[in-house]
């Protein structure tokens, strides 16, 4: 029989996952005086060797597309070590018709190593949307409860933006924004004509030095990982201060298998697989914080079955894995002839848009509930593989004509990505697949996913808006979408936007929710979940900032409870 190796030490807390939620928990808990074992399923990250900033495509034989051209599907070979849509030896399954896409990370810092750094606060109405329109559930907290934590997170990680007084897009503690790019000015002008809001974006990138981190150097390559740490990632901004306390033990290549429970019904530690030796090890802890990413956390809870918790840990409500949502995504692009006249200039900027379109129809009656925002891209970016796919498709041909068309068209396209709110529905959830385990013997997730008419109407509205903006600017809208089939109006398959949340939602009622307002399990008081799983709604504001604010709040509460001896 395989030997299980138990750690001799009992930690105050075992945190599972080192991304936005877990990294923040590790920082706040250790700074609060607690000892923490942080389990990360992947290897450490080393910015000086792992980050590919400043490489040209021609500096590597595969020119950025990776072996066999296959890195392109995971955003290219220059991306920061981060994750993939498929992980060898670690499958997941989709129920017929679901086609859920799950981007998983196995690296210190998790998906924060590459994320878009879009840092938007949820609005007051987002916490009480059921009270407003009768759909879904309200949160057990209000905007006022979380606002001080938004302030703290922004002040610590650094977010640029501007005060705008838009009720649906609350202002935060902002660094100055970078100047707009030409492409963004063109869009802004068109939006002004159409009475659509277009304002400086809010990204977790430093435009001034902050907390020992230098200002951005405007190379537009945040996604590759920033060797100077001028953008936010958990690996560079949250884990180092936690390690500096001397109270953090970071254990890498540790794949959590099960949360262990004592006779008293409380969590007593975590069993994990050490990848290097494929052996099982155990960590003893007085409290456990699960932050493995929303679906991975649901999987871990569901796999933590015992005679006390036969349906999985903290699952008396049956809500673990339920209420899964992703953002509604639909994209398009336009050609803008006026950009052909632009002289060559540096268009790089920060690694993301400098202007964006927040939801602007929040006080109107629309054909769908809730709303979406629009992200902008394109222009004179660093050329890369795929840049002229559209030119090739549209103009075909070859020779001098093709070459001159590419030259003329370079920098003249602007891309739009709509990101909207999905309403949880009964057909969308994840559960344990009864037939499949991963290479470590851990049962895997099976996904069920369905867009409802709400989301499809939203995608339709996105396409109409993109077209209206392009035409108002005198451009040509290039994207064609079908009105039927599984993905009408270009709506992305579920999971594709990588904003999956909701699988262990918080709530005031233990019968319909998994966690209380402090991300503490109703059923197990020394168990917390601090990733995207606690989110009750998934508004059109990318979830990472809110994950960190909730994690900070939950971790402060945990420290306080631990000091009082109430866990």
């Amino acid at each position: 029989m395989a030997q299980v190796i138990r750690s001799p030490k009992t930690y105050d807390v075992c945190v599972i996952g080192s991304g936005a939620g877990g990294g923040m928990a590790a920082k706040i808990l250790t700074e609060g005086g607690l000892t923490v074992a942080l389990l990360e399923a992947g290897p450490p990250v080393n910015p000086s060797t792992d980050f590919k900033m400043f490489l040209w495509p021609y500096d590597v034989p595969h020119r950025g597309v990776g072996v066999g051209g296959k890195a392109a599907e995971n955003f290219g070979e220059f991306l920061a070590p981060n994750g993939a849509w498929k992980i060898k030896g670690e499958p997941y399954t989709s129920a017929p018709g679901a086609n859920f896409q799950w981007f998983r990370s196995r690296t210190v810092g998790g998906r924060t190593n590459h994320w878009g750094r879009i840092a938007l606060r949820f609005a007051p109405v987002d916490f009480k949307s059921k009270s407003r329109d009768g759909i879904g559930e309200d949160w057990p907290i209000s905007y006022d409860d979380i606002a001080p934590y938004y302030d703290k997170v922004e002040s610590y990680i650094g977010v640029f933006g501007t005060k705008e007084n838009i009720s649906n897009a609350p202002d935060g503690v902002f660094l100055p924004p970078p100047k707009p790019r030409c492409t963004e000015l063109v869009i802004k002008k068109a939006c002004d004509k159409l009475n659509i809001l277009c304002i400086p974006s809010r990204l977790a990138i430093l435009t001034k030095p902050l907390n020992g981190r230098p200002s951005c150097h405007y190379c537009a390559q945040c996604g590759r990982g920033c060797p100077s740490g001028s953008n936010f990632s958990s690996s560079q901004v949250l884990i180092p201060p936690a390690l500096a306390t001397g109270r953090l033990t970071l254990i890498t290549d540790a794949m959590a298998r099960e949360i262990l429970v004592g006779h008293d019904g409380k969590a007593s530690g975590v069993s994990y697989i050490d990848r290097a030796t494929r052996s099982e090890k155990r960590i003893s802890a007085r409290a456990v914080v699960v932050a493995a990413s929303a679906c991975e956390s649901a999987r871990l809870l569901l796999n933590s079955k015992s005679h006390l918790f036969p349906d999985g840990l903290a699952n008396a409500s049956g809500q673990v894995g339920r209420n899964l949502t992703d953002s509604v995504g639909s994209s398009g692009q336009g050609y803008f002839p006026q950009l052909e006249k632009m002289p060559p200039h540096n268009h790089d900027g920060t690694g993301g848009m400098h202007l964006y379109i927040p939801w602007w129809k929040f006080d109107r009656q629309n054909e769908f509930p809730r709303g979406y925002h629009i992200e902008l891209g394109g222009g004179r970016e660093m050329p890369g593989a795929g840049m002229f796919d559209d030119v090739c498709e549209q103009f075909e041909g070859y020779g001098a004509m093709l070459k001159s068309t590419c030259r003329k068209r370079y920098g003249t396209n602007i891309g739009f990505a709509g990101r909207g709110e999905m309403i949880p529905n009964a057909d969308t959830f994840c559960e344990i697949d009864p037939d499949v385990v991963d290479q470590f013997g851990i049962p895997v997730l099976r996904f069920h996913f369905k867009w409802s008419d709400y989301e499809i109407r939203q995608a339709k509205d996105m396409q109409q808006t993109f077209k209206a903006i392009v035409e108002a600017a005198g451009g040509e809208y290039l994207t064609r979408t079908s009105t039927d089939g599984p993905y009408p109006y270009g709506i992305e398959p579920g999971g594709k936007v990588i904003h999956e949340v909701g699988t262990a939602r918080m709530g005031a009622d233990p019968k319909t929710s998994v966690l209380n307002e402090y991300c503490q399990a109703h059923d197990v008081k020394n168990l917390f979940v601090t990733d995207g799983a606690p989110l009750v709604t998934n508004p059109d504001k990318n979830p990472t900032l809110t994950i960190m604010a909730l994690s900070w709040r939950a971790s402060e509460y945990l420290v306080d409870q631990a000091k009082k001896g109430s866990l």
Binding site: W56, P57, Y58, V65, H217, G229, H345, K403
Partner: protein
């Protein structure tokens, strides 16, 4: 830290890795601005170019395509993105090597490109009694004018496999060209460097 700094100041033995490590150490130490000048980025590029120049540049041996097919590929790449008065073409930009490397690693590309090249020779043999490579340039142009446009399947359905092949090759040739130094300079891209401030948009021409 002091070690790599000394290397940097002596100008010898510094690698891109050293530069990036310096950036990272500076960030951790919180005093970094003096280390992030645009020079750092330039230095990283220079190092890579030197490392490349140091390796012997012999004749390329294809990893996937047999000699005849590879020669055909080179010819096609040059026809798709030719050299002109502004810049070199896809061949000078290394597109054939890039395509061969990816194809050697990807079975899907092997079928469409390897098979496509054979289709092209068969089609030319039927029509001109030569392989594509042996055809006159007028014949080659006639052939490409047919497979370069989807529209042409309407008049001749037998062209459709050739059109699919050429569409894929055109995409990969563009990728190979526009990821090269020649291609990037052809587009007059400016960037991939460290700036103290982002200058914003220059005045839009009237």
């Amino acid at each position: 830290m002091s070690v790599s700094r000394e290397k940097g100041s002596s100008g010898r033995g510094i690698s891109r890795r050293d530069v990036l490590r310096n950036l990272a150490i500076g960030a951790a130490g919180g005093s970094m601005l003096q280390l992030i000048p645009a020079k750092a980025a330039e230095l990283a590029h220079e190092m890579i170019q030197k490392e490349k120049a140091a390796s012997p540049a012999g004749k390329y041996s294809p990893k996937f395509f047999p000699t005849h097919q590879y020669e055909t590929l080179v010819l096609l790449c040059g026809l798709i993105i030719p050299k002109d008065e502004v810049s070199g073409g896809a061949v000078e930009a290394g597109a054939p090597e890039f395509i061969d490397l990816l194809t050697s690693e990807n079975e899907e590309y092997q079928a469409i490109l390897g098979g496509g090249l054979m289709w092209l020779d068969n089609f030319c043999a039927d029509r001109y009694e030569h392989t594509f490579l042996e055809c006159s340039s007028a014949q080659q142009k006639e052939m490409l004018d047919e497979i370069a446009y989807r529209e042409n399947t309407k008049k001749d359905l037998s062209l459709s496999q050739g059109i699919a092949f050429f569409a894929k090759l055109r995409l990969m040739t563009c990728d190979g060209f526009y990821t090269s130094k020649i291609g990037i300079e052809d587009l007059k891209y400016i960037g991939n460097t460290a700036l103290a401030q982002f200058p914003g948009c220059p005045p839009l021409p009237e």
